[in-house]
């Protein structure tokens, strides 16, 4: 009985994932095709990058609700730099990542120095950015040749190299965002699990006072965590802009929910019962497979959010209920 429980905690989610693949394939053989698998991975990659970022803040027992709007704001920034300023690929990427760094620093400042609880800080930041991204374009989306406020037309456009990031496929099969996501997943994994910095961040998340008295620079690491989640969200935003080829005011909407869901479902992967990089990536994949499969089986779109929520709640019960490690 006890062994059963341990087995369920450890492999439950992976078995569920495998089971989903089998069921969807039986129902719709095209599901398992290479092309569809790549579509799933492509759609998952941006969400997974956000999930990896929020993992860093979860590791220090924080939280970041602003990742979705940071991604959206970065997307708008990159688009604006390209279309309105005609600034080129490098400038657009640097500006967008700069947004992530600044947002992370402000979140860090609010939680560390001002001692505002992280949920409130990042909730505030979320609304702030959602509003701010609308102002420069008076609420419109950004696309090449758009008319500017003073009657002129924007001269810039999305460069080929920028669009490459979101649309190209390596060896004609693996989408670039998937490669970037995998690289970031490996980096996050190595950072959290193998470096002393990751170890200290988990120590802070588990017992901040003890970590501090063991010499950890608690404040510094909290800043680092928020900057990581901000920058990862920005990278997600850049890839999103590159994929859709415009700065779309509404396309970042579901990113927060999906990213956080991925990271939280990740708690349940291999019984980690704590935020972890591999779990977050698999968690995001889990959500992606589910949604893609449901779409292929012609489940109405309006039920999908509900199902996503249901899966998240179930996964959380798995982790916290069964393991009773965290009260």
């Amino acid at each position: 009985m006890k062994d059963m429980r341990e087995f369920a905690i450890k492999y439950g989610l992976l078995i569920l994932l495998a089971l989903m693949l089998v069921i969807f394939t039986l129902a719709e053989p095209a599901f398992l095709s290479t092309i569809n698998m790549m579509i799933i991975l492509q759609s998952v990659s941006i969400v997974a990058i956000l999930a990896l970022g929020v993992t860093a803040t979860l590791a220090v027992d924080g939280f970041d609700l602003s990742i979705g709007s940071t991604a959206a704001f970065s997307m708008m920034t990159a688009s604006y730099v390209m279309v309105v300023f005609d600034g080129g690929t490098t400038m657009a990427i640097l500006a967008a990542i700069g947004v992530g760094v600044v947002v992370g620093l402000i979140n860090g400042f609010m939680t560390v120095q001002m001692k505002v609880p992280d949920l409130l800080t990042t909730l505030g930041m979320m609304f702030l950015l959602l509003g701010l991204q609308l102002i420069p374009t008076q609420g419109r989306s950004i696309s090449a040749g758009m008319s500017l406020g003073d009657g002129e037309t924007a001269t810039g456009s999305f460069s080929e190299s920028f669009l490459f990031l979101g649309r190209a496929r390596i060896f004609d099969i693996i989408p670039v965002p998937v490669i970037i996501m995998l690289i970031l997943a490996v980096i996050t994994y190595l950072f959290l699990e193998r470096t002393r910095h990751g170890r200290v961040m988990y120590a802070i998340g588990s017992n901040e006072q003890a970590a501090k008295l063991a010499g950890a620079r608690v404040k510094l690491y909290r800043y680092v965590a928020y900057v990581i989640s901000g920058v990862f969200a920005s990278i997600g935003g850049i890839l999103l802009a590159a994929r859709i080829g415009r700065g779309d005011v509404s396309s970042g909407n579901s990113l927060l929910m999906d990213g956080v869901a991925g990271a939280l479902i990740g708690f349940a992967v291999l019984g980690a019962a704590r935020p972890n990089a591999q779990g977050s990536a698999i968690g995001a994949l889990f959500v992606g497979v589910l949604l893609n499969g449901l779409t292929m089986m012609n489940t109405p779109y309006y039920t999908q959010d509900f199902i996503k929520g249901l899966v998240l709640v179930a996964a959380l019960m798995f982790t916290f209920g069964l393991s009773n490690k965290r009260a």
Binding site: T195, R196, R199, A203, N207, L213, G215, A216
Partner: protein
């Protein structure tokens, strides 16, 4: 009141965790109006027994019979309903920090609906007052528990427990965080309970408590009752029986310090206290003692950079030095074993290994990457020397018994050589044999560093110290060398009332600000 005679029978309690049998067939009887002292080394199974009796754990076998009836102790509520009340070792489990004393004392009534929906503060205080008086708690009833000293919190937890008129009262290490004078209040309350016909199981490592209170002694070792003592009580025999061997007197010779290591000059602990100088040298072990909140802890916390002194300078190796925080102190070779390891030292999600290595990850790392092999080797060496009892160092730290957790925390700071080793209550909740092991370890490794320990228990101080320094109300009041110690004056310095140089009456705020703010 004593017309009720409570007869409690504990019959054949067994408990296994996995393949590890923690309790084999524990049986004993205790009658109302008696205090049974339960002795046991760390890991003997005391905590498990307490948790079973209080309904937290399920026994695999065995029953509890009160006045001839088998009682249900399958969960904490039913154990309480059956009249078994437990005051746990960890005080904060027994009190709600953000509520007032009165609300805490009446918490059970408030929660189970014995109060009407609208609560009048007057009524609350009226009912809480006798409970507080019974145990000699003389702080305003609307004070928040979070503002109280550790000792007063303990009294609140006990007063709350006994408000329920228990048949069997279990006190698990009730004095471990109380100083001797503070404990006296508690002893009075325990004796009152005895007179009222309550059967009391008293668990403590302090022999002085047991000498004062016990009517019977049971010794628990490796999950079995190995000794039962009736009056006239053979205290030494009971200790031997608990340990399974006789404990020799510890005697160590005085070691004078060698080179100057740490100097405190003109240090003032609060605005009203007098400045003092202290000089610490390599090779010596200095113990700071005094009542709780006497200022000893503030001294070591100041040296470790956890708080700053009101005034005064520090010198490390004869150079001016001021620590900006724990990380800075550690970088400069000043290490500290913290009190209250659960809150201040242990990382509950980490393994034994990761807990020990935490401050020194840098020395196991190349380009930031931790070398697990080096970490494993170094840690296993350190926990070997501190004699931590463990099965696998990759198990979670919380799988260790309390005493072994503490040894692991000492091991943590033995990973690297240091200049100054500070220890705040290193023997908190540690049994005699582990305590001696830690003490010997400290003495045998003391040569090249300065060791400064805070022990409110004088007996502990005598075991390890070369020099004992006494603090009283944030003033340094005495210094004794171990080979020429004069006990009566030492005790007198510890317990003396402060000089009445401040006009205002001594408020509780002064005490709490200093350590719990």
């Amino acid at each position: 009141m004593s017309n009720v005679v409570n007869a409690i029978e504990i019959r054949a309690i067994k408990k296994k965790f996995g393949s590890n049998t923690v309790l084999h067939d524990v049986s004993f009887n205790i009658d109302g109006g008696k205090i049974l002292a339960l002795l046991g080394a760390n890991g003997a199974g005391k905590s498990t027994l307490v948790k079973i009796l209080s309904g937290v754990y399920h026994a695999d076998e065995g029953t509890v019979i009160i006045n001839g009836e088998t009682v249900d102790i399958s969960n904490p509520q039913s154990a309480r309903d059956a009249g078994i009340i437990t005051v746990h070792q960890i005080i904060n489990d027994g009190v709600v920090q953000d509520l007032s004393i009165a609300e805490n004392l009446l918490l059970d009534k408030l929660c189970d609906g014995r109060f009407s929906t609208f609560i009048s503060k007057k009524e609350l205080h009226k009912q809480a007052k006798p409970l507080a008086e019974k145990i000699g708690l003389d702080v305003a009833l609307d004070t928040q528990v979070s503002e109280l000293s550790q000792a007063d919190r303990q009294l609140v937890a006990i007063a709350r427990a006994i408000s329920d008129k228990p048949k069997l009262l279990i006190l698990d290490e009730p004095t471990s965080s109380l100083s001797e004078t503070e404990a006296v209040k508690l002893f009075e309350a325990v004796k009152t309970m005895r007179e009222q016909g309550v059967a009391i199981v008293y668990i403590s490592h302090r022999m002085s408590d047991i000498r004062l209170l016990a009517d019977q002694i049971a010794a628990l070792r490796e999950g079995k009752i190995v000794g039962w003592f009736e009056p006239p009580l053979d205290y030494d025999g009971a200790v031997d029986s608990m340990l399974g061997h006789a404990v020799g007197e510890v005697r160590h010779s005085y070691v004078a310090g060698d080179k100057a290591m740490l100097d405190l000059e003109g240090v003032q602990l609060d605005a009203k206290s007098l400045p003092f100088n202290l000089h610490f040298k390599t090779g010596e072990i200095v113990v700071l003692t005094g009542l709780l909140s006497s200022g000893c802890a503030s001294v070591v916390e100041g040296v470790f950079g956890m708080n700053s002194f009101v005034s005064g300078q520090l010198k490390l190796e004869e150079k001016p030095w001021s620590p900006v925080g724990p990380h800075h102190a550690i970088d400069n070779g000043v290490y500290m074993v913290q009190e209250d390891r659960g809150n201040n030292a242990l990382v509950p999600d980490f393994s034994i290994e990761q807990n020990v290595s935490l401050p020194f990850l840098k020395s196991f790392s190349r380009f930031g990457f931790v070398s697990r092999k080096a970490e494993k080797q170094q840690v296993s060496k350190a926990i070997e020397t501190t004699k931590v009892k463990y099965t696998d160092q990759e198990e979670l730290i919380l799988t260790l018994s309390g005493g072994n957790q503490q040894k692991a925390m000492v091991a943590r700071w033995m990973l690297n050589d240091c200049k100054v080793l500070l220890l705040n209550e290193p023997f908190q909740g540690v049994d005699i044999s582990s305590r001696r092991q830690i003490g010997q370890l400290l003495r045998s490794t003391a040569k090249d560093r300065t060791t400064i320990a805070v022990c409110t228990d004088v007996e502990e101080a005598l075991e390890i110290a070369d020099r004992i320094i006494v603090f009283n109300h944030n003033n340094m009041v005495g210094e004794h060398l171990i080979h020429e110690i004069h006990m009566p004056s030492l005790i007198n310095q510890i317990a003396a009332a402060p000089e009445p140089y401040d006009e205002s009456p001594h408020s509780t705020e002064d005490i709490t600000n200093e350590r719990y703010a």
